[in-house]
């Protein structure tokens, strides 16, 4: 029984991993100014292709069917429900990072949506000045100074790094779904979670698919977002600016361009 519960919650966590495909970095011009560590790129590319195929042939068709047969209100409620269930993992990491205010906000958000929002079906917290946040144990380790290690693309889970691997079992154990003992309920929630992921993450995954070079786009986006979360959702624009280089020397003559700025 415990094994099956573990499997089902792993599936749900994996689906949420797919969700971060369009997020999360260290490539040349990110705010951390570090260089990407991707020694397993060849293998990662294969797994990336597998994950994208999984989306094309499973998640997307299922999401389309789901959208066709359900009203928007229903889909929003389902999305809220699954999002709310991730919050114990989120606020636990807030506190581990010493971000007490954010932790209290996220804890309050979870309580408000669970109690007033009927198990999370309604996102009442957003109307109570309790904005949503993202967090993970990989981010916590980053805040503690643990190096990211090699970039990884995990089957089903999507972009990750060596540093984020310990977060997988912690996320499973902190999910309320792990503590559901009724097999029918477990299977139902898992199936609905897969459908919901296909629906809610379609925009992000399409963004990756429509990029010039999806693998590098996804890697850069994931790493950037990871660094952004580690810095407490703050950006250092000055660091980005440093990469802009000389103001005029390398530029083409503006007069040769069809949209040249008008002369004062």
């Amino acid at each position: 029984m415990r094994g099956m519960r573990l499997f089902l919650v792993l599936v749900l966590v994996s689906m949420q991993g797919c969700a971060t495909m369009g997020h999360g970095s260290k490539s040349g011009l990110n705010s951390s100014n570090e260089t990407v560590s991707d020694p397993l790129e060849s293998m990662n590319q294969k797994v990336f292709s597998f994950n994208m195929g999984l989306y094309d042939y499973v998640l997307e068709p299922v999401a389309k069917g789901y959208e066709a047969v359900t009203p928007q209100t229903f889909r929003t409620g389902v999305a809220n429900f699954f999002n709310n269930a991730t919050y114990p993992y989120v606020f636990m990491n807030d506190f581990l990072q010493g971000r007490t205010d954010q932790g209290l906000t996220d804890f309050s958000r979870f309580l408000a949506n669970t109690v007033i929002g009927i198990g999370g079906l309604f996102d009442v917290a957003s109307h109570m000045q309790l904005p949503p946040h993202q967090n993970s144990f990989g981010v916590t380790l980053g805040v503690w100074g643990v190096p990211q290690g090699a970039y990884l693309v995990l089957p089903f889970l999507g972009p990750a790094s060596v540093r984020s691997l310990p977060g997988i079992p912690i996320e499973i154990l902190s999910s309320p779904f792990y503590y559901i003992t009724n097999p029918t309920a477990q299977w139902s929630i898992t199936a609905m979670g897969i459908v919901n992921t296909g629906y809610t993450k379609r925009g992000e995954i399409q963004l990756v698919k429509q990029s010039l070079f999806p693998y590098y786009f996804a890697r850069s986006a994931w790493e950037q977002h990871e660094q952004y979360l580690i810095r407490g959702s703050k950006l250092n624009h000055r660091r980005i600016l440093e990469k802009l280089g000389p103001d005029e020397e390398d530029m083409p003559e503006k007069e040769t361009l069809p949209f040249a700025a008008p002369k004062p």
Binding site: L29, Y216, F217, S220, Q224, Y228, H237, L257, A261
Partner: protein, 219 residues
Amino acid sequence: MKKILGVSVLLAGMALLWATSKPVLAEELAATPQPPVKSLSSGPRQAIEHLDEALLASMKSAKKIGYKGRYRQLAPVVDRVFDFSSIATVSMGTYWTKLDPAQQSELVTTLRDYTIATYAFRFDNYSGEQFSIKSVQHLEPNVEVVYCTFTEASGEVHTFDYMMRSRAGSWRIINVVADGVSDLALKQAEFTHLMKLKGFGSLIDNLKNRITYMANTGQ
């Protein structure tokens, strides 16, 4: 917000329209009077307000005017508020100086088309979305950051930071950072890998293929 089309339709459409849509669009643009562009006489905040207004107007009339209408409507505004030469320079990293002036100019022009096409493609309907400017930060002389939010109809809020530089008296966008992800960094990751693996011709072909794809599938 985005439409999803079947793979077969995409492939058939791309094959059919690759050779036709871009020239048609260019001819139409040349023949059609452009909407008047507001004067951008003041600072970076006004430039972003101008872009937001144009995007909202385009979204609200999206279904009526279609992709090509949105492209025409947004083109003059995007031309006025983006600094494509800076964006191209940074996106190419060390490869920029290895291009001859004609290649540099071609990349800047293609990047400009790609940006307008992307806006016209993605902002294809309106259901209550809102743009809001939160604050402006001075970074250094002639460089400021405009902090904005984009609120979806569902209430989900995304942060958009526009890094702006003043050149020749005009404030222009040199980078957009959405929820912590820098568009310039994404472009650099893609462009430099394409340059490394396949060269300049492939980069331009890829950009033009994406523009054609958006022109053919945008509604």
